[in-house]
């Protein structure tokens, strides 16, 4: 059981500037390094998402985050704020990875880098500063498994979800596919429901206001008592954003299937889809 977050999901630009000026925060830019060099928020450290995805185990994640100065085992370490320029999805995936290794003092910048620039906030160019790595690295590799869903975990609850759909049990788990509607119709993990990730995304902010997110979920009769497992098509980015939408809305039992459908398909696990219509031909893409 996860407790409600002690740290906000979103940090506003003005709050970030305050935190940075009082040296209270570590700001991570998770875009590609070449984009970072072209311009980034002042004082940001470059940590491209790809490097996080390359980590094959918790130990490597620890080492990676420590290399950019995050003292993962120290609760008094600085507040980490993450941003990207891809709707907040890449930032979410990195923030989730930090939470996964037990570092919960992490937030997302409420807007994307482009928005930051268009609002006239200052940026700087050039190579990343050499951040001071954490020297006293521990061998701790604890993880917060309560926010992760593996394929085995999903398999283990599928039967429960099935029974739930037939109304026979009361404890609730919801499997949430956040890909676009046509992808979902085509195929999805059995018993998953679909809310496209864009439904969580705001017009100018990476996430909609809490009441709008809650309205979406209550339409689907999902409540904050439910355990919700989110997944998307590839590596848990768009579902990562959706993970934080749920956390923002006060959901405490949320898990990210970080390897998402990409893994599920590669393991030839069962999927279901709707085959009675040529819906793909309706797309104007």
């Amino acid at each position: 059981m996860i407790l409600a977050r002690r740290y906000p999901v979103l940090v506003e630009p003005e709050e970030l500037l305050d935190m940075l000026s009082s040296k209270d925060a570590i700001l991570l830019d998770v875009r590609k390094e070449e984009d970072y060099i072209q311009g980034h928020i002042q004082d940001a450290i470059s940590l491209p998402l790809a490097k996080v995805l390359e980590c094959m185990n918790p130990k490597q994640l620890y080492t990676l985050f420590e290399s950019v100065g995050i003292d993962v085992n120290n609760r008094n370490s600085r507040h980490v704020v993450v941003y990207d320029d891809t709707f907040g999805a890449l930032a979410s995936r990195v923030a989730w990875a930090l939470e996964y290794i037990g570092y919960e003092k992490v937030s997302l910048l409420s807007i994307t880098y482009s928005r930051w620039v268009s609002l006239g906030y200052s940026i700087e160019k050039g190579l990343t500063k050499i951040s001071k790595p954490v020297t006293e690295s521990t061998n701790n590799t604890d993880t917060n498994d309560s926010i992760l869903a593996t394929y085995e975990y999903i398999q283990s609850i599928l039967e429960g979800i099935k029974q739930l759909q037939h109304g026979s049990i009361s404890s609730r788990a919801v499997l949430l596919d956040v890909r676009e509607r046509l992808n979902y119709l085509d195929h999805h993990i059995p018993h998953a429901i679909n809310i496209p990730w864009k439904a969580f995304a705001g017009e100018d902010r990476i996430l909609k206001p809490v009441d709008e997110i809650n309205a979406l979920l209550s339409c689907r009769k999902i409540s904050s008592d439910d355990e919700v497992i989110v997944y998307c098509g590839s590596v848990g980015t768009l579902s990562g954003l959706s993970y934080y939408a749920l956390r923002l809305a006060g959901y405490s039992k949320v898990r990210l299937y970080a390897r998402s459908l990409k893994e599920w398909r590669s393991l030839n696990l069962p999927v279901e889809g709707f085959k009675d219509a040529h819906y793909w031909d309706l797309s104007a893409e």
């Binding site: 509607r181 046509l182 979406l216 689907r220 219509a277 819906y279």
Partner: protein, 608 residues
């Protein structure tokens, strides 16, 4: 008759005259009814009646999803409405929306439980789904040329909007025997008036009032419609003055409500009533009923005609044919030729945005919204009967700029005013009634014609191709030069997706319904069309156009090798032939499918 003048009030308003069609309380009732239905508190039938009244139409072979049809009177959409549709389509639908032949916007594969959220989003920007489906007065269609057409005696748009406003939620038309359609034309040439229950063509009459002034009025056509059995509407009387517009429409609806068939679901459109009774008799009843309406109607029963004023500065005219700017980007001339037309107003043009079978993405809708703000001096776009958009009141001097902007958004497609503007209903992509995938077929034909540059051929510019996936005619195949409707046929012992082919349909002055001439396998349609064009090019006389040649052949007056329709049928048959299923299995599959063809349909709710 003069006494009735008081029942038509004309107000001149400033600004663009945006209407609020939606009602916030309807969001609440949609919410409530969806909840009751999901909780099993109301029956399937009760819920169906409600949801159709509120624009929710069942999705193909699924109970969990709905199609949401947004009613867009006269096809008028404002930029903030376009951006809202974009967002709603991403959040709750498939990330694109569909423009229909009756100027509606459809969102497909919406999860039923999300429908209230969609409804709320629409109402917030003045849109509604109310009476977009169901047995009521459907969207009031209005020519996209209204207000800018050279031939029109006056702009009918304010009348279309007023009529839509009058009948929307009006108790007199909430439970008609069947749906009821109004079409406003701008002139005879651009008229779709004769394929509606009531079609209206504007006319003026000199000295028709007591002071000898010019009086506005309409030629009102009654009892038309397309479907498994199609009829062209007949003229009620030579001239119906504008103050008699509403009483006449009310009289027709009251008659239909009273006399229409509520039993035989496949024969309860008003056109069957008119046909069975005979038009002369029906006309007499309408005229009698109109007198009763005039004597008994409430003082509130009036049309509020609000003329919009347009903020368009005077500007120099430019001849579109002469338009050869030095900075014209690639494709500009072709685009102008097949998408841009003069308006009657000097220096301004209407720009058509053709969409593949009416589909447009959320990103494109957003681009269209900002383009509309920047380029249209009336500040809105209009949906068209060929499933596209019209951007009107564009200064001709800014066409290059506009072309670039549309290109960036993937909206500068060729061919809106050409043979390549192929109409296809949604068919098996979402509709319960569909036999074949007419939607994809329309897209395939369109891209092939453009690839071959046939959008540039003047002899084909008035040729139309329209396709429906079943006989119900949402794709308006009966009024196409070349029309198709879906069927399943057994060929070489294999069930095969196919189309009945019609020739010679047209709207406008010489309105005619197409004649069925052949049955063609889906995968041979493109070959057959190209073959016909080939033959025409050899056979044509004195530069006659394709459509005229077809008419001549249908009349049996061919002068070359093709004398009559039987000769033509042989050509079509030859181009339709399929190899055996073993040799070419793909020819026996429908477009968009990689498996054996099967027919699956379910109960229709909207079209009969």
């Amino acid at each position: 008759m003069q006494k009735q003048q008081e029942n038509l009030s004309i107000k001149h308003t400033n600004g663009i005259g945006k209407e609020e069609w939606g009602l916030p309380e309807e969001v609440t009732s949609v919410e409530e009814m969806v909840r009751l239905y999901r909780d099993g508190k109301i029956s399937e039938d009760e819920f169906r009646r409600f949801r159709l009244q509120h624009g929710m139409y069942g999705s193909r072979l699924s109970k969990d999803y709905t199609m949401v049809r947004v009613k867009v009177p006269a096809g008028i959409l404002y930029p903030e409405q376009l951006t809202r549709l974009a967002k709603l389509s991403e959040d709750f639908s498939i990330g694109s929306v569909h423009v229909t032949t009756r100027q509606n916007i459809q969102m497909h594969w919406v999860y039923l439980d999300d429908a209230p959220a969609v409804e709320r989003g629409l109402v917030e920007v003045g849109l509604t789904t109310r009476e977009a489906c169901g047995n009521t007065v459907r969207n009031v269609v209005c020519s996209p040329f209204a207000g800018i057409c050279r031939n029109e005696p006056f702009d009918v748009t304010p009348y279309a909007k007023a009529l839509a406003r009058f009948f929307l939620r009006n108790p007199m038309c909430q439970n008609l025997p069947r749906k009821f359609k109004f079409n406003f034309a701008c002139c005879d040439e651009h008229s779709y008036a004769r394929i509606a229950d009531v079609g209206l063509v504007p006319v003026v009459k000199d000295g028709a009032d007591s002071d000898g002034r010019v009086v506005r009025g309409f030629r009102i056509y009654i009892g038309g419609g397309l479907g498994p059995a199609s009829y062209l509407a007949e003229l009620l009387e030579e001239f119906t003055p504008e103050d008699m517009l509403l009483p006449t429409c009310m009289a027709v609806i009251r008659l239909f409500d009273r006399l229409g068939d509520r039993e035989k679901v496949h024969r309860n459109r008003m056109r069957y009533l008119v046909h069975d009774m005979g038009f002369e008799k029906f006309r007499d009843l309408v005229l009698k009923e109109r007198r009763i309406v005039l004597m008994t109607r409430s003082v509130l029963a009036r049309l509020h005609i609000r003329e919009a004023s347009i903020d368009a500065p005077d500007t120099d005219d430019i001849d579109l044919l002469e338009l050869k700017p030095f900075n014209a980007p690639d494709g500009f001339h072709r685009w102008v030729k097949s998408n841009v037309m003069d308006q009657k107003q000097k220096g301004y043009a209407v720009v058509f945005v053709p969409l593949p079978a009416g589909d447009v993405t959320a990103r494109q809708l957003r681009a269209l919204a900002s383009i509309c703000r920047e380029f249209s001096h009336e500040g809105c776009v209009i949906t068209t009967p060929t499933q596209g958009f019209a951007i009107r009141w564009v200064m001709k001097s800014r066409l290059v700029e506009l072309y670039k902007r549309l290109s960036e958004a993937g909206l500068a497609n060729y061919g809106a005013l050409s043979i390549a503007s192929v109409v296809g209903c949604t068919s098996t992509t979402s509709c319960n009634l569909a036999i074949t995938n007419a939607h994809r077929l329309a897209k395939e034909i369109r891209s092939r014609l453009i690839e071959l540059g046939l959008d540039m051929d003047d002899a084909l510019s008035d040729t139309t191709i329209k396709i429906s996936g079943c006989p119900n005619s949402c794709g308006q195949h009966m009024i196409a030069t070349i029309g198709f409707f879906g069927a399943a046929v057994r060929i070489n012992n294999s069930l095969t997706p196919a189309y009945n082919m019609l020739l010679g349909g047209k709207v406008g002055k010489d309105n005619a319904l197409g004649r069925i001439v052949a049955r063609v396998p889906a995968r041979r349609i493109i070959d057959v069309i190209l073959r016909l064009i080939d033959v025409y090019r050899k056979e044509r006389v004195d530069g006659e156009r394709f459509a005229s040649w077809i008419d001549r052949i249908l009349e049996g007056k061919g002068t070359g090798n093709i004398k009559n329709v039987d000769d033509l049928k042989l050509i079509i048959e030859e181009a339709s032939r399929l190899p055996s299923p073993a040799e070419d299995p793909e020819s026996y599959m429908d477009y968009g499918s990689d498996s054996r063809f099967i027919v699956r349909t379910a109960r229709g709710e909207c079209a009969a």
